[in-house]
C-alpha cells in the first residue's frame, strides 16, 4: 500500500539547503551504479529452464569440450534488472532531441517493430523452400520498387547490410563494369567533405583516392573535378559524392559533375546518407548518378539500435544494373523469382558476386516498407520538407550568435556551424558539446566534416515539434552567451550531471582492456618480500 500521508507534512521542508549526501551505494536516487555481469553472475545459475536430455551416446568424436568456458549466468529477475539499469544510462531519441548531423536520428515508429515480428516475417528461414516464402520475396520486390521509384533508377541490390557495405557493393559493381569493358582505371575522386567510409571503401577495392577541394561556398569545385579528370585522363574509375553534402548543402553543379564524369567513361557513386533531405523533391537518377546506397536506418526510420544493425540497399543505373550482386529478385510474366546462384542467370545478367550470405536485412526491409506505406508519396515529401524547414529554423535561431562557415544561406536538412564564435573564450567545440549534455541534449556531430574548423553539424530531423526546437535554440543561445561571458567552468569540466564525467580515452587506447579479467588475489612475490 502507499504511504498514508494524513497528518504528515510532504512539503519540501528544507528545500533551500545545498547539502547533497554522499550516498553509501554511490547511487543517486534513480541514477544507479550497475556492476558488470561478471561481477554479479554465477557459473551455476541459469535463467532458462531446460530439462536435461535423457541419457544418450554422444557422437562428437574426439572433440568434446574439456575445459570450462567462464560464462556466468543470472536468473530472469536479475537479468531484467541488470539490463534495465544499464539502459537508463543511455540517451535515446525517444527521450530527447538527438541532433547528430548526418546520422538522422528521427522517430522510430513502433508499428515497424510490430510488423517485423509477425511470424510470417520474423520466423522464416532464409533457406527454407522458396515455395514457402513467396510473401518474403514479394516484400523485398515491393520495397525495391519503392526505392527505384523514389530515386529514379532501374535496378536495386537489396543485400548490403549497412551504408558502408552498400558503398562497397556499388563500387564493386563499378569495378566489375570497368573490367567487363576491358578497362582498369585506378583512381577514385573523393571530395574532402566526404564521410570516412568513402575513401576507406575505395581503398579496400584497390583504388587510389584523389581528393577534390571544396569551393569557398562549401560545395565541390567543378573546375577541380574537371582538372582531376584531365590530369588522370583515362584512369578515373568513379567519383564518390554525397548529395546533399556533409555541409548540409545541395551540390548545385551536380548535373555538370555527372556529365564530366560520364564523359570520362567513369561512374558517379552517390553516398545516399543524406537522401532524407530530398525524398519526393528530386530523384538522384534524374541528377545523373549511377549508384547510390540508401541507409534504411537514416532515411526510412529503422532504429539505430546503439550502432546497428543497419541496412544499405544500392540503387543502380541502367549501365550498372547487369552487375548487381546475387541474390536478386527477377520479375517475369510468371511472377517473382529469387535468383540465388550463377546457375540461375539469364543472358545479360552478370553479377559481380555476393555481398553476404542469404538475402540481406529482411527485418529492416519490413520496417522500412511499413514506414514508406505509412507516409506514402505525400507524407515522404512532407517529411523531407519538414526536415529542411526544421534545420533552417534552427539556423535562423542561431546564426546571429554562432558562425556559419559559408555565410548566411539556406541549408538542407542539417546546418553546419564552425567554432569561430568561440574564439578567445577558452571553450572548444568539444567543451561546448559536453555542456549540452548537462542541459539534457545529445551533442551535435562534432569535428565533421573536416573541411570546417571545429565543425558542429546539427540535424534536428522532421520528428521535432516547433516547441522542442524553440527550447533547443534557446538553450544553445544561453550556452553561447555563457561562453562569451567567460563562464568557462560550465564547459571545460562538463558534463557534471551525466552518469559519468568525461572519460579518459587516451588511457583506454594506451593499454586497451577489451574483456573482463577475473580478479586474481595479490600474491607476495619473493622480490617484494626482500
Amino acid at each position: 500500500m502507499s504511504m498514508n500521508t494524513q497528518g504528515r507534512p510532504t512539503a519540501a521542508g528544507d528545500a533551500g539547503s545545498a547539502f547533497r549526501p554522499k550516498t553509501f551505494t554511490g547511487n543517486r536516487a534513480l541514477d544507479m551504479e550497475e556492476p558488470l555481469l561478471f561481477e554479479i553472475g554465477r557459473l551455476d545459475v541459469t535463467g532458462v529452464d531446460l530439462d536435461e536430455p535423457e541419457a544418450f551416446e554422444a557422437e562428437l568424436g574426439a572433440h568434446a569440450r574439456k575445459s570450462g568456458i567462464g560464462l556466468p549466468g543470472l536468473s530472469e529477475p536479475e537479468t531484467m534488472r541488470h539490463y534495465v539499469r544499464l539502459s537508463r544510462n543511455n540517451y535515446a531519441i525517444d527521450a530527447g532531441l538527438y541532433p547528430l548531423g548526418s546520422c538522422t536520428m528521427k522517430h522510430n515508429p513502433r508499428l515497424n517493430e510490430k510488423m517485423a515480428r509477425v511470424p510470417g516475417f520474423g520466423d522464416i528461414h532464409p533457406l527454407q523452400p522458396l515455395s514457402t516464402v513467396k510473401g518474403a520475396v514479394e516484400l523485398i520486390s515491393e520495397l525495391g520498387d519503392w526505392l527505384m521509384e523514389l530515386t529514379g533508377t532501374s535496378a536495386v541490390a537489396m543485400s548490403p547490410k549497412a551504408g558502408a557495405h552498400g558503398e562497397q557493393c556499388g563500387m564493386m559493381a563499378i569495378k566489375a563494369a570497368h573490367i567487363a569493358a576491358g578497362r582498369d582505371p585506378k583512381i577514385v575522386l573523393v571530395p574532402e567533405s566526404a564521410h570516412g567510409t568513402n575513401p576507406a571503401t575505395a581503398a579496400l577495392l584497390g583504388f587510389k583516392v584523389v581528393t577534390i577541394d571544396a569551393k569557398e561556398d562549401g560545395t565541390v569545385d567543378l573546375a577541380s573535378v574537371k582538372k582531376a579528370i584531365a590530369d588522370n585522363a583515362g584512369n578515373i574509375a568513379a567519383i564518390m559524392l554525397t548529395n546533399p553534402n556533409t555541409c548540409g548543402l545541395f551540390e548545385r553543379d551536380i548535373m555538370e559533375i555527372a556529365a564530366a564524369i560520364h564523359e570520362a567513361n567513369a561512374y558517379f557513386y552517390c553516398d545516399g546518407a543524406n537522401f532524407n533531405a530530398i525524398v519526393g523533391k528530386a530523384r538522384p537518377g534524374d541528377l545523373g548518378i549511377d549508384a547510390m546506397h540508401i541507409n534504411l536506418h537514416k532515411t526510412f526510420s529503422t532504429p539505430h539500435g546503439g550502432g546497428g544493425p543497419g541496412s544499405g540497399p544500392v540503387v543502380l543505373s541502367d549501365r550498372l544494373a547487369p552487375f548487381a550482386p546475387l541474390p536478386f529478385v527477377r520479375k517475369s510474366a510468371s511472377g517473382l523469382e529469387m535468383v540465388e546462384t550463377e546457375a540461375g542467370l539469364k543472358d545479360g545478367e552478370k553479377p559481380f558476386g555476393r555481398m553476404t550470405a542469404f538475402h540481406g536485412q529482411m527485418g529492416m526491409f519490413v520496417r522500412a516498407l511499413a514506414y514508406m506505406l505509412s507516409h506514402g508519396s505525400d507524407g515522404l515529401r512532407q517529411a523531407s520538407e519538414d526536415a529542411v524547414l526544421n534545420a533552417n529554423y534552427v539556423r535562423v535561431g542561431l546564426q546571429d550568435l554562432m558562425t556559419l562557415p559559408f555565410g548566411v544561406r539556406p541549408c538542407m536538412h542539417e546546418v553546419l556551424f564552425d567554432d569561430s564564435f568561440l574564439k578567445d573564450t577558452g571553450v572548444t567545440t568539444l567543451d561546448f558539446a559536453k555542456a549540452m549534455i548537462d542541459e539534457g541534449y545529445h551533442p551535435m556531430t562534432m569535428y565533421f566534416p573536416l573541411v570546417v574548423h571545429g565543425a558542429m553539424l546539427i540535424e534536428p530531423t522532421e520528428s521535432e515539434s516547433r516547441a522542442a526546437l524553440d527550447l533547443f535554440v534557446a538553450t544553445l543561445r544561453d550556452l553561447v552567451m555563457s561562453a562569451k561571458r567567460g563562464e568557462t567552468e560550465r564547459f571545460t569540466g562538463a558534463p557534471y550531471l551525466a552518469p559519468r564525467r568525461r572519460l579518459d580515452e587516451t588511457r583506454a587506447a594506451r593499454a586497451p582492456i577489451l574483456t573482463y579479467q577475473d580478479p586474481v588475489p595479490a600474491m607476495v612475490t619473493p622480490a617484494a618480500a626482500e
Binding site: A58, I69, E149, A176, H195, L205
Partner: protein, 448 residues
Amino acid sequence: MRYLPLSDTDRADMLARVGVSSIDELFADIPEAARLKGLVNLPTRKSEIEVERHLNRMAGKNVAAGSVPFFVGAGAYRHHVPATVDHLIQRSEFLTSYTPYQPEITQGTLQYLFEFQTQVARLTGMEVANASMYDGSTGTGEAVLMAHRVTRRNKAVISGGLHPQYRAVVEGLSNLSGDKVVSLPADPMGTEDILAAIDGETSCVVVQSPSFYGQIIDLKPIAEKAQAHGALLIAVFTEVVSLGLIESPGAQGADIVVGEGQSIGNGLTFGGPYVGLFATKQKYMRQMPGRLCGETVDAEGKRGFVLTLSTREQHIRREKATSNICTNSGLCALAFTIHMTLLGEAGLTRLARINHANAVKLKKQLSAIAGVEVLNKAYFNEFTVRLPKPAHDVVEALAARGIIAGLPVSRLEPGKADLANLLVVASTEINTDEDRAAFAAALKEVLA
C-alpha cells in the same frame, strides 16, 4: 501524417521566421530540370490499420518455421529465445540510441558491448573480441582481409567445408581487390587434405567447424601447419551453440575465430539482421576490423567504457583504415548478450546437450530408412544425408506434406552431380519427438 509534429500553422509561422515565402525556396539549389513538380508515382499515406493489412497479407503467404516440423539449418538456426530478450532490446534507451560516440550518456550501450566482447572471447577461447560484425559471412570476409594485413601476403586457402555463400563473399571481394583465393572442392565427408594446400605464400586457411555439412573438424593440425608456414588459421562457425559442447577453436590454436551469433537471442528473419562474432589473439588486436569497446575511468576515477582504438577506423584513418565498417550489429549483439546471460554456462551447455541429443535421435530415425545414408560420424546438431534421389525434389515433396526437411545442397551448389542427392538437416531444442517421427514417416513415404 501521424509521425510529423508540425501543423500547417507551425509551418507557415516557421517559413515566415526563416524569411522565405514558400518551402520550395529552400530547395532552390536543386537544378530546375531535376525538381519534381508533383508527387512521385507511389500510393499516398496509409493508416496503421491499412499498413498492417497490407503487410499481413504478404506475411500470410509465408510458412512460419514454428508452424511446421522444421529441420533447416545451414547457417541459420531456429532456437527458442526467452521472452525477456525481446522485451529488453525494445527498451527505447537501447533501441533508439546511436553508436556510443558520447560515452558519458551511453554507458548502457558501452557496458553491454564490453560484456558481449568478454562473452565472445571466452566462448571462442580467444583473448580479445570486437563489438560485432554484420554477420558471420561478412565477418569471414573481413577476417581474410585482416590476415592479409597481418601476414603481408594475399593468398587465402578455403576449405570445402565452408558455407558456400560465405565462400562466395570471400571470393567476390578477393576477385575485385586483386587478392588470391584457393577454394578446395566441396567436402561433405570432412576428409579433405587441406594441409597439402598450405605453402609459404599462404596468408590464411579458412576452415569451418562444424562444417557446412555438419562435420566436426580437428583444427589443431591445420593451425600447426599454417603457423609453421607463417600463415593464420581462421576458424569459422555458423552454429554458436556448438561451442557449448565442442572444444573451442582458440584451444585448438586458431588465430582468428569468426562466426554467426544468430542462434543466441536472434530470430531467423529470413537471413538478417544477424550478428557476426569476431575474436582473435591479443597480438593482432590493432589489426582487427570493426568497433572495439574498452575500459577506462572518468574524471572522478569511476570505471567507465568507451569506444577505443578508433585510429584503426575509417572516420579517422579514411583510406588507410583497417576496414570501411561504420555500423556494427549493436542491437543483435545486445540480444545475444542478454540471452547468453540468461543461459549462463550451466544453461548453454545444457542447451548444447539437448541439441546434440536431438540430432542423435534424428540421425537414428533417418538412417533406419532404406536408401538413406548419413555421412557424418562426428557432428553437433546438424548432419548430411545422401538420398537415393535428388534432394531438391524430396524437399519439395515433403514441403507439400507440411514438413520443412532441410537444405538440399544443390540449392547453393547447383550443377554438381555428386552433391545433388545430399540433404543437410538440423535438429535443435525446438523439435519434438513428434516432429522427428513425422519427418521420418514422410521421408519414408516420399522415397518409397
